[in-house]
């Protein structure tokens, strides 16, 4: 039992570090990673694209992709090592993750040769950015309940409907969209998957302002938007298969929890703030609570180490890898709320008016989103109980029912 790289891993890390040293600046460990795109305007996209092209030229883009697509067929542990190392440098935040991580592999698996030839290279180089058009206002956790329709018209499909929670749609050239093509089939059997040009007529993108003020997501409206049939991925009405491939490639945030304020900051804050006329850190309930946060944080971090160990050995990570967000997101919310409580009335202030520039308030405002995005707490508990523990799935009122006959409540 140890935390060391194997000799092969150490060699790969050294190779990655050598290239990064020559091409990027180290980040001060206390300095947060480079900021969100939206705060940086269009310049952020350009910088991210330049960095991606540089990586691509040197063979450090999409390293897990097969060599025939420009990757280096890197192992999962090499991918983790690369991400750890790149994270140590001042590099632009990646805006290509959804395309490169999820959609690219879907096209490689289900796409036509023509699609692979056309889309994969610009995706790898970051020249074209991609978004994923899955969720709808009435189809979130129950994605297969989607209602956006695609109707065949000559060589085209005509798409109408609304997608939501689309990350980065405003920067994207292409999207991958799941649509309803047969409302009379049972819900999973009437879905078709397409590549859609986000600049084509009939596509309207509206940013969604979140509770913390930022707009990371969008609503995307489709009104008689035409998609050529050659952009179809997989067979007609067989799109659910492709959608599953996409979702299976959704990266679990292995070893996450590094970013943001932590227990150390809470201890400092508890020394500065008073309770009962004395530093709050002398209050027993404060001490008990911070201890609990520390223990859960460490538990998550070491669980990440166990997952990495499995990856390093080339085995599938054990079931313990599935609990990261289920524990991490509520923990973050509770820690932020606790920090605000320590500040008392001043805990209500935000941004420059708040202590420590409002990092805790920002975390508190962002935390509810973390508990919902990429699988709600409740869906994650279903996943753990069904896929990890093997418990029976929920009884479904829509099983075997044609999509058009499923009750919608409206």
């Amino acid at each position: 039992m140890d935390f060391e790289d194997t000799p092969e891993e150490a060699a790969f890390r050294a190779e990655a570090r050598a290239w990064l040293d020559a091409n990027a600046k180290l980040r001060n460990p206390d300095e947060p990673p480079m900021g969100m795109l939206e705060e940086e305007g269009g310049g952020g996209v350009k910088r991210a694209q330049q960095w991606q092209a540089k990586k691509a030229d040197a063979g450090w883009a999409c390293i897990t992709w097969p060599k025939e697509y420009g990757g280096r067929a890197a192992s999962s542990i090499q991918s983790v090592i690369w991400n750890q190392e790149e994270g140590r440098y001042r590099t632009p935040p990646s805006i290509f993750g959804i395309g490169q991580g999820m959609l690219g592999p879907t096209i490689m698996t289900h796409g036509t040769q023509e699609q692979k030839d056309r889309y994969i290279q610009p995706m790898l180089r970051g020249e074209e950015i991609w978004c994923q058009l899955f969720s709808e206002p009435a189809a979130g956790s129950d994605l297969a309940g989607l209602r956006t329709t695609a109707v065949k018209d000559g060589d085209d499909w005509v798409v109408n409907g609304q997608k939501i929670w689309t990350t980065g749609a405003q920067f994207c050239k292409w999207g991958m969209i799941v649509t309803r093509t047969d409302p009379h089939a049972v819900k999973h059997a009437g879905i078709t998957y397409f590549i859609v040009d986000m600049e084509s007529p009939g596509v309207e993108i509206r940013p969604i302002k979140q509770i913390a003020g930022a707009s990371g997501f969008n609503e995307v409206f489709f009104t008689d938007c035409r998609i050529p049939d050659k952009n179809r991925v997989g067979a007609v009405n067989d799109g659910w298969r492709g959608a599953i491939t996409t979702l299976m490639n959704e990266r679990s945030s292995i070893g996450a929890g590094g970013g943001g304020a932590g227990v150390k900051d809470l201890l400092r804050l508890a020394k500065q703030c008073k309770r009962n006329g004395r530093p709050a850190i002398e209050d027993s309930s404060v001490r008990q609570q911070i201890a609990d946060f520390y223990i859960r944080t460490k538990g998550l971090s070491y669980t990440g180490s166990r997952t990495l160990t499995a990856i390093s050995k080339g085995t599938t990570p054990g079931p313990e890898s599935s609990i990261g967000k289920l524990v991490g997101a509520p923990l973050r919310q509770q820690m932020a709320a606790f920090a605000m409580d320590l500040q008392g009335a001043a805990g209500s202030l935000v941004n420059q008016d708040a202590a420590e520039e409002g990092i805790w308030q920002l975390a508190w405002l962002g935390a509810p989103g973390m508990r919902l995005a990429g699988g709600t707490d409740e869906i994650l508990r279903n996943i753990v109980s069904e896929r990890v523990l093997g418990l029976p799935s929920e009884m479904r009122a829509d099983k075997g029912v044609a999509f058009s006959d499923i009750p919608t409540g409206s």
Partner: protein, 367 residues
């Protein structure tokens, strides 16, 4: 990154699991609970023959010379079987104290007996309700004699060899007492009758120093840290068994025409219990790593392992009864044995609240 046990270690664990499945079914713990026996002498002898009682005792003193990683996995299996033996007291506490602080003569004299299972050992610290106040013990050691009362002492009533934390002219010290010489041993009734609990009264009992006079509290703290990690593995083993039994029951129990394990009200709670055990296991792994490598982080790692394992097992102990419904609180079903064990193991080394406090003190000291 290799944050896992080796294949050899896992094989040892598998052997232990199979052995205990055979030799220590839950009916063995029940038999102890329903009799006047304080432990299973037969199982105690068998574990001695397997070499477990001397797991980390060096071979020159009759032990197996394993590392802590091996002992941690044995502890997990002992916990999984609810084994009704004084394993934790004798192995994690008494033997560890003598390995850490004993003179060569003391090691020769005591460790060989402990490894062979000829003597049951324990460590006596508590002196009544409240925290384990290491600096404020009243039991007094002077001129080779020990006077005072220790209560409750895990396995104290069946112990042959007792390491006692006592007050001395120099502060505090650990001393070794022969359980058969000048000690009044009384059995106490505890929430968990599958394990022994005693009260020890010393009236000028002959005793000998273990380690340095004046260092007793510091030495006891080190022993408690080590024991906390090992006990965490034992607790996790117990929690895993409770989880398995609970899951099995919810799959087989039908209500409203379906297995109750298909209701989200049950599924989500099983997911939460599973999650709690996973986190506790990860913290226990780190504790084992710190113990095996004598890391500076053992102090904080032990606290995290202790608290998290206690929380996970207490949750498992509550849920096994709740999810069994009415039969869960009958004497006949085994659920209560887990509920009882969960609280006993959560208390004997000091409550979770004490360990959370200790954790913050150590984080402050390290800052």
């Amino acid at each position: 990154m290799n944050f896992d046990f080796s294949e050899e270690q896992k094989l040892l664990q598998k052997t232990a699991r199979d052995f205990l499945a055979d030799q220590a079914p839950l009916s063995l713990a029940r038999a102890v609970m329903e009799s006047d026996n304080k432990y299973s002498e037969e199982l105690w002898k068998e574990t001695a023959e397997m070499g477990w009682l001397g797991a980390t005792i060096p071979e020159e003193y009759g032990g197996a010379g394993f590392g802590y990683l091996e002992l941690a996995l044995l502890a997990q299996e002992v916990g999984r079987s609810l084994a009704p033996i004084p394993f934790s007291s004798s192995v994690y506490l008494a033997s560890e104290a003598i390995i850490a602080f004993g003179s060569d003569d003391q090691k020769k004299k005591y460790l060989t007996r402990l490894a062979a299972g000829d003597a049951i050992g324990t460590v006596a610290i508590a002196e009544g309700p409240g925290e384990l106040g290491l600096e404020s013990v009243e039991t007094r050691f002077e001129a080779g004699k020990l006077t005072g009362k220790k209560t409750p002492v895990p396995d104290g009533d069946i112990a042959d060899l007792i390491v006692v934390l006592a007050k001395t002219a120099a502060g505090t010290a650990l001393v070794i007492v022969d359980g058969d010489a000048g000690v009044d041993k009384k059995s106490l009734e505890s929430i968990d009758p599958t394990r022994a609990m005693g009260q020890l009264t010393f009236d000028g009992a002959p005793a000998e120093l273990l380690g340095a006079d004046g260092e007793g509290a510091a030495q006891a703290e080190k022993i408690l840290d080590r024991a906390a990690v090992l006990m965490a593995f034992e607790q996790i083993g117990t929690a895993e068994r409770a989880f398995d039994i609970t899951k099995e029951y919810t799959l087989g129990r039908y209500a409203f025409g379906r297995p109750i394990a298909s209701f989200q009200a049950i599924k989500h709670r099983l997911a939460d219990l599973y999650t709690s055990i996973v986190l506790a296991t990860s913290n226990a792994y780190y504790g084992a790593w710190a113990l095996e490598n004598s890391s500076d982080e053992l102090g904080t790692a032990a606290c995290a392992a202790r608290v998290n394992a206690t929380e996970a097992l207490e949750l498992a102990g509550e849920e096994i009864i709740q999810m069994h419904g009415g039969v869960g609180f009958t004497w006949e079903y085994d659920c209560h044995m887990f509920y009882r064990r969960s609280k006993l193991t959560g208390l004997v080394l000091g409550s979770a609240a004490e360990w959370r406090e200790k954790l913050i003190q150590r984080l402050e000291a390290a800052a």
